[in-house]
């Protein structure tokens, strides 16, 4: 620790400046967080209901939709594409940092899956600058990079991502599509999560109970499946945004507390150093006086 009072005073000042910034960031993130959390939570009901409906419907009917069960190219009369089937990962992060471990949690989750399976098999779509940077740094192939929004996300933001993934899935370019994102659990807890987007996961077939489908399975499934997939992507976007703001708010609050503690400690050593200076001066003066008297 520095012993020069002027040096300590300078450090106190700079820590105070940082504390001011983190305080302001905490307040803005808190406001954004409340909004983002409300959005994420209010759309959960719809997201869960569409998923459940689709699952129930698929379980009950013998109808096969390409987006639900993977159809092999040769079954449809197409030649099998060359090379091994590839896997697409949609990695959702934020554009901005200073949110604690938020981005690295999501990125590590994705990387651990990519490493386990071998990185040659994967292509990435990234949302957010942090994810794109990480993918580039580790040398993964990125087929599209979107910038992240941190508020006012609409279903229109999920559409281009979904369309790209669905088109390439139907072209047999990819055998699976995953989304890696941050699930918002609470203000203090956000969990990096992986879900399989396409094909629409495995669903047990239990053909119990009849169900009338109007106008017909083709139209209803097409409508419902696309809607569900699009909305799943949208939900992951809003969950990630709610997580981002929550993580940032908590990180800034911690920074604030740490800054307060640091200021306290520094003030203490400043006072000590100042007192030491005064004592030294006094003893010098009295020493000089003694010398002159003698």
């Amino acid at each position: 620790m520095a012993t020069n009072p002027r040096e300590i005073r300078r450090r106190i000042k700079s820590v105070k400046n940082i504390a001011q910034i983190t305080k302001a960031m905490e307040l803005t993130s808190a406001a954004k967080m409340r909004k983002a959390q409300a959005v994420a939570i209010s759309s959960r009901a719809y997201s869960i209901q569409t998923g459940e409906l689709l699952r129930r419907l698929v379980g009950r009917t013998s109808y096969k939709h390409q987006l639900i069960e993977r159809v092999l190219p040769e079954d449809k009369g197409y030649p099998r594409p060359e090379g091994n089937p590839r896997i697409l990962v949609i990695l959702i992060t934020s554009d901005r940092g200073l949110a604690g471990a938020f981005n690295s949690n999501v990125i590590n989750k994705a990387l651990s899956m990519l490493r386990d399976e071998g990185k040659e098999k994967f292509d990435l779509i990234t949302v957010g600058k942090k994810g794109a940077d990480a993918a580039r740094r580790f040398g993964y192939s990125v087929i599209a990079a979107y910038s992240a929004k941190d508020k006012n996300v609409s279903i229109n933001d999920a559409r281009p991502i979904t369309e790209l993934a669905v088109a390439d899935f139907l072209n047999f370019k990819y055998e699976k599509v995953f989304v890696v994102f941050s699930d918002f659990v609470s203000t203090l807890v956000q969990k990096a999560n992986i879900i399989q987007l396409l094909p629409f996961a495995d669903i047990p077939k239990n053909g119990n109970g009849e169900v009338l489908i109007e106008p017909g399975p083709d139209d209803v499934f097409e409508n419902l499946v696309r809607k569900t997939i699009e909305f799943t992507v949208y939900q992951t976007l809003v969950e990630t945004i709610a997580s981002e703001h929550s993580a940032r708010m908590v990180a800034m609050r911690n920074a604030n507390e740490a800054a307060g503690e640091l200021i306290e400690n520094l003030t203490l050593s400043y006072n000590q150093a100042r007192q030491a200076g005064i004592t030294r001066e006094l003893s010098e003066i009295s020493a000089a006086k003694l010398a002159m008297e003698n």
């Binding site: 759309s43 209901q49 569409t50 409906l53 009849e210 109007e214 106008p215 139209d219 809607k227 949208y234």
Partner: protein, 148 residues
């Protein structure tokens, strides 16, 4: 009684009991009563009405999916849904005109044409419901003043 739940991406709009429910599907308007067999249907843009006791409530949807579950449970997953009083008539009219214009310009481009048709249908339905809401409330006001 039907257990009715109407859910949009933004909110759970209605959670109520109803005697009957009428909605616009791809095959035309249908009405759901008690003990309906399980049904899943695509919804079009239009007006949804439901009756409970002596009152009737209505609102507009822009499309979605209807599910009738066993046990008189009805779930409507709407893309968007609005009550009459929530509709901004002027903006709906502007949107309708925009859609109409886009439709006449984009007859060559299949995708934009389909989109603009859907937009037009949606706004026509919104205007219809908004208008119905206005006449309804006026009637209520008149009868209210008579009672006084």
């Amino acid at each position: 009684m039907l257990k009715l739940k109407i859910i949009t991406p933004e909110r759970i709009m209605i959670e109520a009991e109803a005697e009957s429910l009428s909605l616009p599907t791809d095959l035309g308007e249908i009405t759901i009563l008690e003990n309906h067999i399980p049904l899943v249907a695509n919804l079009r843009a239009g007006e949804i009405k439901f009756k409970k006791e002596n009152s009737e409530e209505f609102f507009v949807v822009s499309g979605g999916v209807l599910e009738v579950k066993p046990g008189n449970e009805v779930v409507v997953l709407a893309d968007t849904a609005e009550f009459g009083h929530e509709i901004d008539v002027q903006r709906a009219e502007e949107a309708r005109e925009r859609a109409r214009k886009l439709m006449s310009e984009s007859y060559k481009d299949e995708k934009t044409y389909a989109e603009s048709t859907a937009l037009l249908e949606k706004n026509l339905a919104r205007l219809k419901v908004a208008k119905k809401h206005r006449t309804r409330t006026h009637k209520n006001l008149e009868s209210g003043s008579l009672n006084e």
